[in-house]
């Protein structure tokens, strides 16, 4: 069973972010980058499936030059077989659905039974990529999966829904996006990290994929960012030390603000 995991490199949550004042895209050189945290669960799920069913795990990312470093390489160190980086200056500023378009073209070049994504990325948090990808590839996309089982050519998942979950059945090949609760990711071993340095990450350009430039980048995206401002720091409110009456003061606060 061959699996592709899509991972995204995102700025470290703790880092201060700077946006380019002209096009409001992230100045990615200014911050430390990490693999999108939820994508780690996607990688783990793929490695578990490989252990159970055999096959190869390929890691796919789209991003600027060097975007493979903290994301693809990390997944290879954990046990993935190979990596693909799609990079092209013309992709700069692509929105979620333009990204899905590029990933769909890249996936069309790989034979796979299952494509795994994270449920959302921490920077933009749109969660739009997985379902957009399914639509563009004409493939079933099952999102927010918290448990997954593959048997022969079918897949059964538990999908998180408000207040509960749904059990869904579909045929492979399929696309799934996973949530954090699905597994416990492993840690990389020193041997894995050393070994990952030897492995090649294939680099593909827009032309390699036959991308229509009118569909990607700032120009080709159907949405545009018109303004970006840091959130004004919140003013700290009242701080009360409990001396036996703290709960009464808090109840007053809640009542004044009409929460009861």
């Amino acid at each position: 069973m061959n699996i592709v995991v899509c991972v995204k490199r995102v700025p470290d949550t703790a880092a201060e972010k700077k946006l380019d004042p002209n096009d409001f895209t992230l100045d990615r050189d200014s911050v430390e980058s990490i693999m999108n945290p939820v994508d780690e669960y996607g990688v783990e799920e793929a490695l578990k499936l490989k252990e159970a069913h055999g096959g190869e795990v390929t890691i796919l990312t789209m991003g600027p030059e060097g975007a493979d470093k903290n994301a693809v390489r990390k997944a290879i160190a954990l046990g993935a077989d190979k990596g693909v980086l799609v990079t092209d200056d013309r992709l700069h500023g692509s929105d979620a659905l333009a990204t899905a378009y590029v990933l769909a073209l890249a996936l069309a070049q790989v034979e796979f039974d299952l494509c795994i994504l994270g449920s959302e990325s921490t920077d933009a948090r749109t969660s739009l990529v997985p379902q957009g990808l399914g639509q563009l590839m004409g493939m079933t996309a099952l999102t927010d999966v918290k448990q997954l089982e593959v048997k022969d050519d079918s897949i059964t998942v538990q999908r998180e829904e408000e207040g509960g979950y749904a059990v869904i059945e579909a045929k492979l090949p399929a696309i799934v996006s996973v949530v954090k609760g699905i597994n416990e990711p492993r840690y990389a071993t020193l041997k894995g990290i050393m070994g990952a340095k030897q492995k090649e990450v294939q680099v593909l350009s827009g032309d390699d994929l036959g991308i229509d430039p009118a569909m990607v980048g700032l120009e080709g995206s159907k949405t545009e960012v018109t303004e970006a401002t840091p959130r004004p720091p919140k003013e700290q409110g009242e701080l009360v030390k409990d001396e036996g009456e703290g709960h009464v003061k808090l109840a007053d606060f809640l009542q004044q603000n009409k929460f009861i």
Binding site: T13, K17, P37, V38, D95, A96, L97, T122, D123, A124, R125, T126, S127, L128, Q131, G132, G134, Q135, L136, T140, A141, L142, T143, E160, E161, E162, G163, G164, Y165, A166, V167, I168, E169, K180, K222, T223, E224, V225, T226, E227, A228, T229, P230, R231, Q236, G237, E238, L239, V240, K241, G246, H247, L250, A251, F253, L254, Q255, N257, F259, I260
Partner: protein, 326 residues
Amino acid sequence: MGEIWTILDHDRGDLKKVSLQMMTAARKLAGELGHDMAAVFLGSGYDAAKDKLGRYGAVTVYVAESEDIDGYLVQPAVEALARMVEEKSPDVLLFASVPMGKDLASALGARLGAGVLADVVDISADGDRLVCTMAVFGGAMNTTCKIKDSPQIVCVKPNAFVAEEAPGEVREERIEVSVSDEAKKARVVERVQQEAGGRPAVEEAAIIVSGGRGLQGPENFRLVEELADVLGAAVGASRAAVDAGWYPHQHQVGQTGKTVSPQLYIAVGISGAIQHRAGMQTSKTIVAINKDADAPIFGLADFGLVGDLFKVVPALTEELKKRKGG
């Protein structure tokens, strides 16, 4: 004159609050854009939704009732919507920014080549374009975005708008739904409800009470649940509490859990690590209960109570019960 559509989020006709919030936003925007307002009902159980729709000012309701829409994931609804959009060319489509709404919006956008914005917390009109506001990077920044062409597809976060009644006449238009075999690939085997006692889900609740490691064990989540129940709130949890196995992951708030912006967020025994704040700092009012006066969560709090949660929380629950009773 174009149309602005609200795609209703409902559970077999039981309309979610976000649907009424979206209709309120749609009404305001319809005025500014000079559009007609319509609501779209997909799935089964329309009769249960009818009265409420009239109270919140639906003018036209497109009713696409079909068991297949509930029985198979996403695709039957997308097929039906795509056909309706092609026929009626609405200018704006509002979806709920919850997993199902975002799935539909994304699939429809990809299918039609239309622009989609998610997690939108405010919308205004600039000429014939919508200007949408959303928080990015875990609430560290606000951005405004536009969609370049029509249709403009926007996913609206629950609690971003306050629902206001505006009674109106409902005009129903039944839509014929024929679902292709191609669309029946992801079959729903069963739906399992886990939430006890009608407690709301974290992603939609107007009030959330969350517990963290300060609770010291799974049995003490009872304190959080009891407080939540007096307030009609959902129960959230920090990652530390979830990873310790005290509460299910589905309730986790933060970077690797849910991003929420309720009217009121109460953090109990939660320190306020940046990854937790990333999921809740856009909440409108924040209350923190923590014994450590230096806990970072207090930096966000509109009201901070420095104290022992084991004393304060049960006492608060009792106090609120008393006030509600009287």
